[in-house]
């Protein structure tokens, strides 16, 4: 993620084109390798979540360990907007995004003057609050059961409306959102804003003395990241046709951290992508052999943290740009 700023950043670098090529063609070959198209939807949603998460962890150096909360808030937002406002896809996704952003903006007010372990602990605590509310506020969230029977509204473009009932249409829609978010975040990380966030990660004190409003940068990054998590949560509710407290649990929050670290989010923009793919492949491929696949995945995580903290991206030398 660290490169010289005087070099022109390509709009879509090679790893991005490769990523888009894989996911654009996935429905046509995934069954031939013994998997199923819906897995692609899941992976894309989690990549969106993980890339947004890494805006905090990798770019800004802010360990948000309760990030599942904003994913969950987005999922509930999608469902509640559909039930109580209007079953329009854009409205529901907009509410998911806005709900994530709002929750993030609120929590951001309390955590943005912290860093390191204190930041991490506070985000866990706030994450647990959201989870607890989701479980206990029965009249709104339906407790442990969550929101069931969320429908998939049509993608209405005014002149043409596509039904998302079929998994193929759902896939195409998720791919479009996914590609948009990947392009956007790539741009963001290499914009002046992204470069300042990375500068703050490296030396908060110096950033302050060159005149940056460090708190505002951290708060805005937290809000943005939570908004993207909310959007991912909205897509999840759309795909899964439900929203339940489990997605906000501490273990789900831990998963996105693990994915990002295993993939190498600290050294590469593409780390979270690799990590997410590896996680889901491990779940489905290892899971086919053993119930205890998470044990093996956990061991993999420990090995990587011990011996290759830069993650898979560090192993493969897939850097977003060659180090200057």
């Amino acid at each position: 993620m660290i490169g010289a700023a005087d070099r022109r950043v390509p709009l879509a670098p090679a790893p991005m084109l490769a990523l888009f090529a894989v996911f654009a063609t996935l429905p046509w070959w995934i069954e031939a390798v013994g998997l199923y198209p819906y897995l692609g939807v899941e992976i894309m949603i989690w990549i969106v979540f993980a890339l947004g998460f890494n805006l905090l962890l990798g770019t800004s150096g802010l360990p948000s360990f309760g990030h599942g909360a904003y994913f969950g808030v987005g999922a509930y937002g999608f469902g509640l907007a559909q039930f109580h406002l209007h079953p329009n896809l854009w409205l529901c996704l907009g509410v998911a995004l806005a709900a994530g952003a709002l929750a993030g903006a609120l929590v951001g007010c309390f955590v943005s003057h912290r860093r390191g372990i204190y930041f991490a602990l506070l985000t866990i605590a706030f994450g647990q609050i959201f989870w607890f509310v989701a479980v206990k506020w029965h009249s709104v969230t339906h407790g442990e059961d969550g929101l069931l029977n969320i429908r998939r509204p049509d993608a209405d473009f005014g002149f043409v409306a596509w039904s998302l009932q079929s998994n193929e249409a759902l896939y195409a829609f998720c791919f479009a959102v996914f590609a948009f978010v990947v392009l956007l975040l790539w741009r963001l990380v290499h914009s002046p804003y992204g470069r300042v966030l990375a500068a703050i990660r490296q030396n908060e004190t110096r950033a302050r003395f060159v005149g940056y409003h460090v708190w505002l940068f951290k708060w805005s990054a937290f809000t943005l990241s939570a908004a993207i998590a909310g959007l991912a949560g909205g897509l999840f509710a759309l795909a899964q046709q439900s929203a339940y407290p489990n997605v906000m649990s501490l273990s789900q929050s831990g998963l996105v951290v693990m994915m990002t670290l295993i993939g190498g989010g600290l050294v590469s923009f593409w780390g979270p992508v690799l990590g997410t793919v590896v996680f889901f492949l491990a779940r489905d491929l290892l899971g086919a052999y053993t119930e205890a696949w998470l044990l093996w995945y956990g061991l993999l995580f420990m090995l990587i943290v011990l011996f290759k903290p830069e993650g898979l991206a560090g192993l493969l030398h897939v850097r977003s740009k060659p180090a200057a």
Partner: protein, 245 residues
């Protein structure tokens, strides 16, 4: 240009600064000297907004800046370097300087533009690097630079903000004779265009460059004047502050 009057600061039970008043005139190089623990760096921290003074007033060009946060003071045109180096270690020398330019600072919340197209700030950053003698090392990561180069970059980052007043906290800390000579050359050149305030242990270095010097001891200003005046000052001689050679 810059005036601090009757500053007091205590940390817990310890009084670190007591009734310190300083004046830095435009176009001059002012020095602050004194033994370790005299309160020099604390003094800088009060003047640049890191800490607020318990009592006293700080004004810059007639404006009260007492207790303003560092970013606000920086934006008024006051910049500082640090005794213990404070660089963006993973960034190249160029990026270190670039992120400190006003051009990038005003674009800080620009989220979708490409920094490599910001020609103005890039040119400025290259100029600053050339000025501090790092023109050929723009692409080297800060952490991979030699100690002397890092010292120069430390000044470069402060300089990139285009300050009218520049505070330098022991710019030669840890440098040998050669490195010190390099920094002396740089500061001598800066002196012609920027008002400078410098904390320094190296007496020879400070006396050779400064127009006006404050001597601090135990959190108080015990003497002040031109280098020539201070050489004759019995306080300075008696307090055994250094070997003036």
């Amino acid at each position: 240009m810059f005036e601090a009057s009757r500053l007091h600061k205590r940390f817990g039970a310890q009084v670190v600064l007591e009734d310190v008043s300083l004046r830095f005139e435009a176009g001059r190089l002012s020095g602050i000297m004194g033994p370790n623990g005299a309160g020099k760096t604390t003094c800088f921290n009060l003047l640049t907004g890191r800490h607020a003074p318990d009592r006293g007033r700080v004004t810059f060009e007639g404006r009260d800046i007492t207790g303003l946060p560092p970013r606000a003071i920086a934006r008024l045109g006051i910049s500082r370097s640090f005794q213990i180096m404070n660089l963006f270690d993973e960034y190249s020398a160029l990026d270190n300087v670039l992120v400190a330019t006003p051009g990038v600072r005003t674009r800080g919340f620009s989220m979708l533009t490409d920094l490599s197209r910001a020609r103005g700030p890039l040119e400025e950053a290259h100029e600053v690097l050339a000025r501090v003698g790092l023109g050929g090392k723009a692409a080297t990561r800060a952490r991979d630079l030699s100690y002397g180069d890092r010292r120069a970059l430390e000044i470069g980052v402060a300089l990139a903000a285009k300050p009218r007043l520049l505070f330098l906290d022991e710019p030669t800390a840890g440098l040998g004779a050669q490195g010190t000579a390099r920094i002396a050359g740089l500061i001598g050149e800066l002196k012609r265009s920027i008002t400078l305030v410098m904390i320094e242990h190296d007496m020879k270095f400070l006396f050779g460059l400064a127009d006006h010097i404050y001597v601090m001891h135990w959190g108080q200003v015990i003497a002040e004047g031109t280098p020539a005046m201070l050489r004759a000052n019995p306080w300075v001689q008696r307090s055994n502050l250094g070997q003036l050679g």
